[in-house]
């Protein structure tokens, strides 16, 4: 709006005032005397072939722009250089273009083609900068071109270009608001972007274009929460502010408990599917009454993910988090922000100013929060006055019975300050303390009275005003103070103070009957010289005295009224006329004069001294509107909490490689239907068909998945279409998963297979699930549990297949060997298994691994002799992440109990070492934790808290499990860096109601991971680990492990090591390295005659070596 006038001014100003200066302007070259000549020169330079001349000219022009001089007549000459090769010239031309394009629309169009060409450049940075300048040119004609460019850039493979597209959206919107609908589409698309680079910018665009479309956020809410910490700081501010508003519309007020009984009942169903929900409705409702308010897990997620940002170096981020907590957090948790806000008080004075304003508002509502930091608000003589006054405000708000004495002592020193405005504010503050805290009222009053003898008039005047207010509360006891003040009228000149004294005397003239008429006499004398407010009070005093003591003051009053009648100010004349009619009885005087006394001497309520910051918190804290206490343009009202929470499931997101929560319901329903119809075996057999097709599909899906992954690193180039494709495939997969789940149900009914001894397939599925869990880590644990279930079903089904063989043998290879001679299982079965295996591998792929040859090779393992397997290991297993799934022949994964279901009050927790690399941190051991909810109530917010670790040990907690429905089981993975010691990791396992102290102690064999090496390498390494590092032990092999396979199986189950190929069949060699520090662990088992054998362990860490020997020995001798 002001831009139009701005231009006018600009031109006018520069031509009239600016021009004559040009001659003296050093940057524009002082040698040129006349204006047009100088511009000719610049034009000449711009037209020349030399870049250096062009550059020089552009520099001068930019200097002119910087000074606000008009350089628009050079437009044609400058625009020609838009395609200049020299980067700096080009950049300066851009600066010029953006500045003047609006004025020279037609000419600006000449440059557009250059940018359009730039938009197609293979270099992402050039594309981005072209889009940036193009969108900055405010020329309406190019709106369609911009729209097109933005749309294209929004699906660019480079996140940087997409970011630029997000920046361009508000530019286009301000140029042409008609485009809003189309722009919202682009925003919606960009909101779904998963990169941190884009998130901040697109939310900014969202806030400028369509802040009311809160529905666009639903699906992206969790993602935004999780990305938040990695977004650049400016983006964080915007996102946090937006999420505050969002949360206010979607969640329930955590601080209102009473009215929420009903809704939390509703909330209890959240996540549980329709069917079960129906069954449990009564139960859940009963439950709801017990715990009246349960925070939505998404609400908790937001609070949890923003908290670390209080540690940001950026004051704006800290403030944004602080306001989020203030507006959204339960009372008990808001306290955390105080420390961070107090820290900001060390920053620049402008920052202090804003922070103090907000603290002042907060202290009114939540005083306790800042009380421990009282001293941080003490005032220093070097503070600017505006800061001092704000600190004073905070101190006053913080004052209570316990700290008032220290605060008053502090105030006393402030009164001596040289800064008189500040002293005046201090006196006001004392007055407020006195009114708020009854105990100190007299002390304060005495102190203020002492100030009446201060030499500084301002101080006295301010004290008078404050005393007046205080006296109004209990006038009876203080007539001596009133007398004292009456005397002051001779000295005090400050009108406000004089007026206050006169009012006091008038109001309480009955307490000072002797002095009051005398004061009036004096005042009547000086009436004409007084200020208006004093005059009004003199009339007031006269009237009151006339009513109470007319004998003495009748004449004086008449005199005063007469003076007032001819006063210059009409207010005073009016007042005089009004009062005369009211108090002086005449024949015409109406009914009112009877009540004159009541009118004038009515008991007046004592003033309430209030903080100016009261009720400011209806503005979002930290906002401009809050600071100004007035609604600023574009301010989005902070909505009130909803009465009932809107459907939380809107935030559920369909995640590519796991089943989202909401599909659960339908799938389960389907599953139940099918379950009855089909017997188990035929089902699984039939399934192999679709499985294979799904296999190939998911392969391609994985391709695109990894494509989009690598896109982030800027190398990949996967088009949007392929992504959509994979989405549809996802659906296929879900169908398939449905079937499998259904199968699982059957399983559960038929076979009660304890997870502990579940064989190979369990292991692999566990492994797979682990990989998956790693991928999913940021994702909802709900979906994890889903995938877990599905894996479980997988394992159980295959288990039940082998059940018939009455063998709990876990080694597949061994199984195969045994199977072959017995021929009990038909070859078909084996084939099917291999298919299953294959499918599992491809599922893995889905997670985002590039398909490596290994999955294709490994199924063959099943049919090969183990020695061949070991040979293959070195060849095919390039992908270490994949490796354990495929080789780890040791079947039984030992499960340990973390929390017994009795001590856990129905929550049973088991853990096992899944032997998977923990991808978030390679130095950590992955621990798979299985939660079983044996109660009939839901368990919520399962998470780890307060780890107590030995020095050096670290924990990577699993993502919080929001909900564990009754009877369900959930598996998560956490990483622990044990620092290669078998010390237990202690931590607390917290649910929404209880905390349990638990500890995980790893067997030494789990502290390592397999290493693949050749025989020669092994020998070489072993050679270096002789002497102290070698531990040998003789042993007698146990019954079951006399052959090679037995040994391999026993050793690999005791320790996470892999077999090293070996020429002699008398020796078995294994290699591994510790997870944390990567120290090699070499194990050799040399068999001799008659079950005798020798075990050798080579390891740099003797403790590990010794313990490992013990463990393996035990495993082999049993």
């Amino acid at each position: 709006m002001s831009s139009g006038s701005g231009f006018g001014d600009e031109k006018g100003g520069s031509s009239s005032v600016g021009e004559p200066e040009y001659g003296h302007d050093p940057a524009s070259g002082g040698i040129f005397s006349s204006d047009y000549k100088r511009h000719d020169d610049l034009k000449e330079m711009l037209d020349s072939n030399k870049d250096s001349l062009k550059l020089e000219a552009m520099k001068r022009i930019v200097a002119m722009i910087a000074r606000g001089k008009n350089a628009s007549d050079l437009f044609p000459a400058v625009v020609k250089n838009v395609a200049c090769k020299n980067i700096e010239v080009k950049k300066l031309v851009y600066v010029y273009l953006v500045r003047y394009a609006e004025e020279q629309q037609d000419l600006a169009l000449l440059s557009i083609s250059t940018f359009q060409r730039g938009l197609k450049d293979p270099n992402q940075l050039i594309r981005a900068s072209a889009l940036r300048v193009l969108s900055s040119i405010r020329v309406t004609i190019i709106v369609p071109i911009m729209m097109l460019a933005i749309k294209e850039a929004a699906s660019d493979m480079s996140p940087y270009v997409r970011k630029t597209a997000a920046h361009a959206i508000p530019k286009l919107y301000s140029l042409d608001p008609e485009q809003k609908d189309q722009l919202i589409e682009v925003i919606e698309k960009l909101l779904a972007d998963k990169t941190t680079l884009v998130a901040g910018s697109v939310v900014m665009a969202f806030e400028e274009v369509c802040p009311e479309r809160i529905d666009l956020i639903h699906k992206n809410y969790r993602k935004l929460c999780n990305l938040l910490i990695d977004v650049e700081e400016w983006g964080q501010v915007v996102i946090i502010n937006m999420l505050t508003r969002y949360a206010r519309t979607q969640f329930l007020n955590p601080n209102v408990n009473e009215s929420l009984l009903e809704e939390s009942g509703e909330k209890a169903f959240y996540g549980s599917d329709d069917e079960e929900g129906k069954e449990e409705k009564a139960e859940a409702a009963a439950l709801a009454k017990r715990k009246p308010y349960v925070m939505d897990p998404d609400h908790r997620l937001l609070l949890r993910n923003t908290k670390p940002l209080l540690q940001s170096r950026n004051a704006a981020v800290v403030m944004a988090v602080a306001q989020l907590y203030f507006h959204l957090a339960p009372k008990a948790e808001v306290g955390v922000i105080a420390k961070a806000l107090v820290r900001l008080m060390r920053s620049h004075s402008e920052v202090q100013y804003v922070v103090l304003q907000n603290v002042a508002t907060m202290t009114i509502k939540r005083r306790g929060m800042f009380e421990p930091y009282l001293k941080s608000f003490y005032i220093r003589s070097t503070d600017p006055t505006q800061i001092k006054i704000l600190k004073l405000e905070v101190l006053t708000n913080l004052a209570n019975e316990t700290n008032i004495s220290t605060i008053l002592r502090e105030f006393q020193t402030y009164i001596k300050s040289m800064d008189k405005d500040f002293v005046a504010a201090t006196i006001q503050a004392i007055g407020r303390c006195a009114t708020n805290i009854g105990e100190v009222r007299d002390t304060c009053l005495n102190g203020l009275v002492q100030l009446l003898s201060n030499r500084d008039e301002l101080v006295v005047a301010e004290s008078v005003v404050v005393i007046k207010k205080l006296l109004q509360m209990q006038p009876e006891q203080h007539s001596d103070i009133i007398k004292h003040m009456a005397k002051l009228t001779d000295n005090i000149q400050v009108p406000m103070a004089r007026a206050s004294i006169l009012w006091l005397i008038g109001e309480y003239c009955e307490h000072v009957p002797k002095i009051a008429p005398d004061v009036l006499r004096k005042m009547a004398k000086t009436f004409t010289n007084e200020e208006d407010i004093v005059k009004l009070q003199i009339i007031n005093l006269a009237a009151k005295l006339y009513l109470t003591n007319s004998k003495q003051t009748k004449l004086l009053t008449q005199y005063v009224l007469n003076l007032a009648k001819y006063d210059q100010n009409y207010d005073i004349r009016d007042r005089a006329r009004f009062i005369r009619q009211l108090i002086v009885p005449t024949d015409k005087s109406g009914a009112l004069s009877k009540y004159a006394k009541k009118l004038f001497l009515a008991l007046k309520p004592a003033p309430v001294l209030e903080s100016p910051f009261k009720d400011r918190d209806h503005f979002q804290l930290g906002s401009l509107s809050h600071l100004l206490n007035a609604k600023a343009g574009g301010y989005q009202e902070l909505p009130d909490w909803p009465e009932t929470a809107p459907d939380p499931s809107v935030r559920n997101v369909e995640v590519k490689d796991s089943v989202p929560e909401w599909t659960k319901c339908s799938s389960r329903e389907k599953r139940k239907e099918k379950k009855v119809e089909k017997p188990f075996y035929s089902d699984s057999e039939e399934e192999s068909g679709p499985t294979e097709s799904a296999d190939s599909e998911s392969d391609s899906a994985s391709g695109s998945g990894s494509g989009s992954e690598s896109e982030e690193s800027g190398s990949g180039s996967e088009s949007e279409e392929s992504r959509e494709e994979s989405e549809s495939e996802q659906e296929d997969k879900e169908d398939e998963e449905d079937k499998r789940k259904k199968k699982k149900k059957t399983d559960r009914g038929k076979v009660k297979a304890p997870a502990v001894e579940s064989p190979e397939s369990e292991e692999s599925s566990g492994a797979e699930e682990k990989n998956r869990a790693q991928k999913v880590k940021g994702r909802r644990s709900g979906s994890e549990s889903e995938s877990e279930e599905e894996e479980e079903s997988e394992s159980e089904s295959s288990r039940s297949e082998s059940e018939s063989e009455s063998e709990s043998e876990s080694d597949t290879d061994a199984k195969k060997k045994k199977k072959a001679p017995v021929t009990k299982p038909p070859p078909k079965q084996a084939k099917k298994e291999s298919k299953k295996e294959k499918k599992e591998m491809s599922l893995l792929d889905l997670d985002d691994f590039e398909p490596t040859p290994s999955p294709q090779v490994t199924p063959v393992n099943n049919f090969l002799s183990s020695s061949l397997v070991t040979d293959l290991e070195g060849l095919s297993l390039t992908d270490t992440v994949m490796a354990p799934t495929t080789i780890a022949p040791s079947g039984s994964v030992k499960t340990y109990e973390l929390l017994h279901r009795i001590t856990g009050e129905g929550l049973g927790v088991e853990y096992c070492f899944s032997r998977q690399p923990f991808s978030p941190d390679a130095h950590m051991v992955a621990v798979q934790i299985m939660f079983t909810n044996n109660t009939n109530a839901e368990t919520k917010n399962l998470h780890v808290e307060d780890p107590k670790l030995q020095s050096g040990m670290r924990i990577k907690e699993f993502p919080e499990i929001e909900l564990l429905p009754p009877g369900e089981m959930v598996t998560v993975v956490m990483g622990i860096d044990f620092c290669d010691s078998t010390q237990a990791a202690n931590f607390q396992l917290c649910t929404h109601i209880r905390k349990f102290f638990v500890s995980i102690q790893p067997p030494v064999g789990e502290l390592m991971m397999p290493v693949f090496m050749t025989e020669n390498e092994f020998k070489k390494e072993q050679g270096q680990l002789m002497g102290m590092n070698e531990i040998s032990e003789k042993l007698t092999l146990g019954e079951k492990c006399q052959n090679e396979h037995g040994i391999v199986q026993r050793v690999t189950s005791a320790a996470n090591v892999s077999r090293v190929p070996c020429g002699s069949d008398k020796e078995c060699r294994f290699a591994g390295k510790t997870v944390s520090s990567g120290i090699l662990v070499l194990v050799t088992v040399a068999t001799k005659e008659e079950r005798a054998a020798q075990l050798t362990v080579n390891c740099e860490k003797m403790v590990i070596g010794t313990m490992l020997v013990k463990d393996i020995l035990q495993a082999l001798t049993q």
């Binding site: 831009s3 704006a316 402008e350 220093r380 003589s381 405005d421 574009g634």
Partner: protein, 418 residues
């Protein structure tokens, strides 16, 4: 967000303007000048000034007002923080952020501002990225540029903006690999008349100068991390690691940066390293006042207190001060009534003192306010809180860097009330 930026010098001239959206007339600054006139002191200009159509948010640094014009709701701290970041960047580029420096480098300033904001929203504020885009002017480069006609603008594109560690340049190379860390602690204190401490707290920062080749991953651990009560990090620090182990793990930016600022928990008693004995009196009816000040070391753990500077704003009634310093030099400005005494190092054997008389306005009553004494000092090789760095390790690169850690304690806002 940010519409325009005006730079205003202390005499009230607009010497630079930059617009990111449509041009806003500089007449909008008139509202600012009004507020400036109303304020008694330069720092009392309210940071946020509403005008009929715009809002002005300003910061004052180096006696230059940076006035940002905004049009609609935006968190004020967002703008203030950004403006400070602009000043820091200028300082980083030109060494000083003065009017002259900005005027001399107006083109670079303009280029910087262009990169830092896009349509009023911050785009690149990391110094490492900016330096890749626009090279800071050095004398050598200026000479070379004038001869060869080459430019300040980086030839390569800002790849840093694309990387996962946006704060670090790529392809850093040094022949001498070194990493220096300065632990600087400041004591903020208010001491009352009788010498007892009203409030004292320690604020510290760790400033780093890291010049390492490649992509080093550093970890810094403390002997006593429990001391740190409240910390704020450079974005490079991995927060989770700190939470779990109290170890600072980070990929450092190239060059100088502030790694960490912290607050030492308030439970710990703060050792006050200096004490002041003072006797400043004005007698009623006489035009003379006495002034006596003695400084002495206290709780310094054997370290010398250096660079001591005492300053005090004397009451308005004081005409002149006739003092005698046992050590160092003092100045008294009769206009601003500011007394400064440059003491230097405190010698525990011979305590520095400043004694003498003040002449007051004849006839005026005795000033009833007492001046506050502000003390600055430095103590080398000591962090007053006792914070100690345990070790610094580097991962990810093969070479052995040279590491150095320096401790220093300074007075922050250290005031003695009299």
């Amino acid at each position: 967000m940010i519409h325009s930026l005006f730079l205003v010098n202390s005499s009230g001239d607009i010497f630079l303007e930059k617009h990111w959206k449509s041009v806003v007339s500089r007449s909008v600054c008139d509202y600012f000048f009004e507020a400036q006139e109303r304020a008694s002191e330069p720092e009392n200009v309210p940071p946020v000034i509403p005008t009929p159509h715009h809002y002005l948010i300003s910061v004052l640094r180096h006696r230059i007002y940076f006035v940002a014009v905004i049009q609609s709701e935006v968190p004020p701290l967002f703008v203030i923080e950004f403006l400070h970041r602009v000043v820091d960047t200028f300082q980083d580029y030109f060494g000083l952020c003065t009017e002259a420096a900005i005027k001399d480098n107006v083109v670079v300033v303009y280029e910087l501002l262009e990169e830092m904001l896009d349509n009023g929203f911050p785009l690149a504020t990391e110094s490492n990225i900016l330096k890749e885009l626009i090279k800071p002017p050095t004398i050598l480069r200026t000479v070379v540029n004038t001869i060869t006609g080459s430019t300040n603008v980086g030839e390569q594109l800002p790849t840093g903006q694309l990387s996962v560690v946006p704060w670090r340049r790529t392809g850093v190379k040094y022949t001498n690999n070194e990493a220096y860390f300065d632990v600087v602690e400041e004591i903020d204190a208010i001491i009352d008349k009788s010498g007892s401490t009203i409030t004292a707290e320690i604020q510290g920062v760790i400033d780093a100068c890291v010049k390492l080749t490649g992509m080093p991953d550093l970890t810094l651990s403390f002997m006593n991390p429990r001391l740190l009560d409240d910390v704020s990090f450079h974005p490079c620090v991995r927060f989770k690691r700190w939470e779990a182990e109290r170890i600072l793990s980070f990929i450092p930016p190239d060059g100088n940066f502030r790694l960490l600022s912290y607050h030492v928990s308030s439970q710990n008693l703060v050792a006050i390293p200096v004490y002041v004995k003072h006797n400043i009196t004005f007698r009623e009816g006489s035009s003379q006042g006495r002034f006596e000040l003695t400084l002495g070391p206290k709780q310094t753990m054997g370290k010398a207190v250096e660079s001591v500077l005492v300053s005090s704003q004397l009451p308005r009634g004081v005409l002149n001060a006739n003092l005698n310093a046992s050590q160092g030099t003092y100045t008294f400005d009769p206009v601003t009534k500011l007394l400064t005494w440059d003491v230097g190092k405190i010698n525990p054997q011979k305590l520095p003192s400043l004694k003498g008389s003040m002449s007051l306005q004849a006839g005026a009553s005795k000033p009833d306010e007492n001046p506050t004494i502000i003390i600055q000092f430095k103590i080398q090789q000591m962090a007053i809180s006792g914070l100690k760095v345990n070790r610094l390790d580097m991962y990810g690169e093969k070479y052995k860097p040279f590491k150095g850690i320096k401790y220093m304690t300074k007075a922050g806002k250290f005031q003695v009330r009299t």
